[in-house]
Amino acid sequence: MSAVVILGATSRIGQALAREFASAGFPVVLCARDLAEAGRIAADVTTRHGVTAEAVAFDACDFSSHGPTLSDVARRFGGIHVGVIAYGDMGDQGESELDFAAARRVIDINFTGAASAAEALYPLMAAARGGTIVGVASVAGERGRRSNYVYGSAKGAFAMYLDGLRGRGHKDGVRVLTVKLGFVDTRMTFPMATKIPKASPEAAARAIREAVESGVESMFYPPFWAPVMAIIRALPPALMKRLPL
């Protein structure tokens, strides 16, 4: 059976997605920088669900490696059924303002590296006339906000990129799912004490798999973020710039 490839598999959301797809019987390929940890996750999904699982080295910023790495995976597994681009890095807004190299790294991981992986997945899926590219974007990408606009703009650009890719995929049989996540209870948000409810990574992963299965093209999770972001998008700039967001 063709594989489900998780890029950024060491994130808790990536790990939960691996378990989700493995429970449906798909072999999973876990792409990550930290191979030792990805290996433990591979052992986990195999032990739990009896599927083949493999850890593969992958760096979002090593753009030229994306094509060869993913075509090798596709060749060995007989195709890629779903490719999830789950890596991301919030960076540090303050640091990005002081040093553009830091800002650039955030943009490279969240946008350039994400688009590069999607470009590498696309021809493999188009050749097979089937497959779904899942891009993990963020509510932070819905409107530039003072507190994290570098990360937000990279995620927003990625979402816009996915919109275009969806159109291209329409004739080639490649589906594109954009996932705009609100707060999910992961390493990224653990230190934040907030009253806004955080979704569990497991629930987020389940919702994403269900969306893939039912052919949804764009989603917010948790869903309440859709109306919230609609309001924030509608705020006039003169008001927006004064809000402590």
Binding site: T10, R12, D34, A36, E37, R40, I41, A43, D44, T47, R48, T186, R187, F190, P191, A193
Partner: protein, 467 residues
């Protein structure tokens, strides 16, 4: 590097509570990193917080939440050995392996415990008389010790460290992973017999006659007095054979509907569980069961984990929280200690909502592992404050006189002096711990209270009283 968050940490009894800086590693290497980033403060592992008192608390220290270290690393279906990280829960093990015909060798009254917590408390189950405790089925424990190294220990490798870790309540290090031997089952169903027992002597009679059953326990009505003292409902069960029971689908479907509705968190009433309602419950529960022996098949969940049906049921006791009292006393043909304890409780007027009694089997542990041959009683009390603490103090003396001891996984209040008399092994245990953790890197509120750790605030030397 490590992201710490200040949190109020509590056990299942929600008494006491303490504030600590918590980390929640998601990768193996982050545990060692947290230890390195402790900044001079002591460290403690915390699983799912199902110990009742202060075992998983560390005021002002660094608490490492293990729930995300939940990877199953391998399983050998020909032997039943599972290798898994310490944050894997028994719920997860059962949901994964029961459909494949395997079950944990020992389970407590809730599935919401981690393997690390189960080992650190060396938990016992309804099958203690035949299967021993949790650690009897464990090997190759990977333990992160004070100097930052990971040591593999079991009965063959570093046995002293292993025996100190079993029942050692997290005070020898952080358990990272272990091998656990699962047992083969043929069905998710339990063949169950319930026997209504009319008093304490009757309980011991039925218990003696039930030794061939792998799972035995008795609910006991603590409010009953006089001739009825010790009355209850004895349950004995075994895993059913293949095809012995009806299909579980309907139950599974019903549960899917009901489960999300049963969450006590939004209620949290201080008045719900009072003496009158508890007495009424106990009376009804007793009457509900017909006389004599009743036979049936039940799903493993209601049999082993009846309380898991209501999420956060501890909140039913309200903000004051609750306390458990669980002693074991050695075998005694006259059951004097048990009688005295039950008498004191029934005359005290403090009713216990949930009380169970069971006879333990042999035990092969040194260390602080709790189970010993004899009779154990587990009682839940709403936290009535000082009068309840006073009652428990007098019960401690009864337990001590009988040569018994209390379960640390359920304790929030026993004094250091009484603890040290209950566990004369503490000195030898402490020597092993001091060898592996000479600078007191690992600590807990329980450890400080009982003199199990070096602590600036509490005297380090033994504080034996004249008694």
């Amino acid at each position: 590097m490590t992201a710490w968050r200040e949190m109020t940490v509590e056990g299942w009894g929600r008494y006491p509570r303490s504030v600590a800086r918590c980390a929640r590693p998601e990768r193996l290497a982050e545990v060692g990193q947290a230890l390195a980033d402790r900044d001079g403060s002591p460290v403690l592992a915390h699983g799912l917080g199902r110990s009742y008192g202060d075992a998983a608390l560390l005021a002002g220290g660094r608490v490492v939440l293990t729930e995300r270290l939940d990877r199953m690393l391998g399983f050998d279906a020909s032997t039943g050995w599972l290798t898994a990280e310490a944050g894997v829960s028994l719920l997860d093990v059962i949901r994964t392996f029961a459909p494949r015909g395997f079950f944990p060798p020992v389970v407590p009254g809730t599935q919401l415990v981690t393997l690390g917590g189960a080992l650190a408390a060396d938990i016992h189950g309804k099958n203690h008389h035949v299967a021993g405790s949790f650690s009897d089925h464990v090997r190759r424990v990977h333990l992160l010790v004070a100097d930052g190294r990971t040591v593999v220990c079991d009965r063959e490798h570093e046995p002293e460290l292993f025996h100190a870790t079993v029942g050692g309540m997290g005070l020898t290090g952080v358990v990272l992973s272990m091998d656990l031997q699962l047992v083969a089952i043929e069905s998710p169903w339990i063949e169950l017999e319930t026997v209504r027992v009319s008093n304490l002597d009757h309980f011991f009679e039925v218990s003696a006659g039930s030794e061939a059953w792998p799972y035995t326990v008795s609910w006991i009505d603590c409010a009953a007095t006089g001739k009825a003292m010790g009355r209850g409902v004895f349950m004995r069960g075994r895993h059913a054979g293949p095809g012995a029971a009806p299909s579980g689908r309907l139950i599974e479907r019903l549960k899917a509907v009901v489960e999300p509705l049963l969450d006590a968190r939004p209620i949290e009433p201080d008045w719900l569980l009072n003496r009158a309602t508890i007495r009424a419950f106990n009376e009804t529960y007793f009457r509900m069961h017909g006389r004599g022996v009743q036979r049936s098949f039940v799903h493993y969940e209601p049999f082993f984990f009846p309380l898991d049906a209501v999420k956060n049921w501890n909140r039913l006791y309200g903000a004051r929280g609750m306390m458990q009292y669980q002693p074991v006393v050695p075998p005694d043909p006259d059951h004097r200690a048990m009688r005295t304890i039950l008498e004191r409780i029934s005359t005290s007027g403090f009713a216990s909502f949930l009380a169970v009694i069971k006879e333990f089997g042999e035990s092969h542990h040194s260390g602080l592992s709790f189970p010993r041959p004899g009779t154990t009683l587990a009682l839940d009390f709403p936290n009535h404050g000082q009068p309840l603490l006073d009652l428990m103090d007098t019960l401690d003396d009864v337990v001590l006189d009988a040569g018994g001891r209390l379960y640390l996984g359920k304790d929030a209040r026993v004094t250091r002096e009484r603890f040290q008399r209950m566990y004369p092994e503490w000195r030898a245990w402490r020597a092993v711990r001091d060898h592996w953790d000479p600078d007191g890197v690992f600590a807990s509120d329980l450890g400080r209270r009982l003199g199990l750790v070096q602590d600036g605030a509490a005297p380090t030397g033994p504080t034996r009283s004249a008694a």
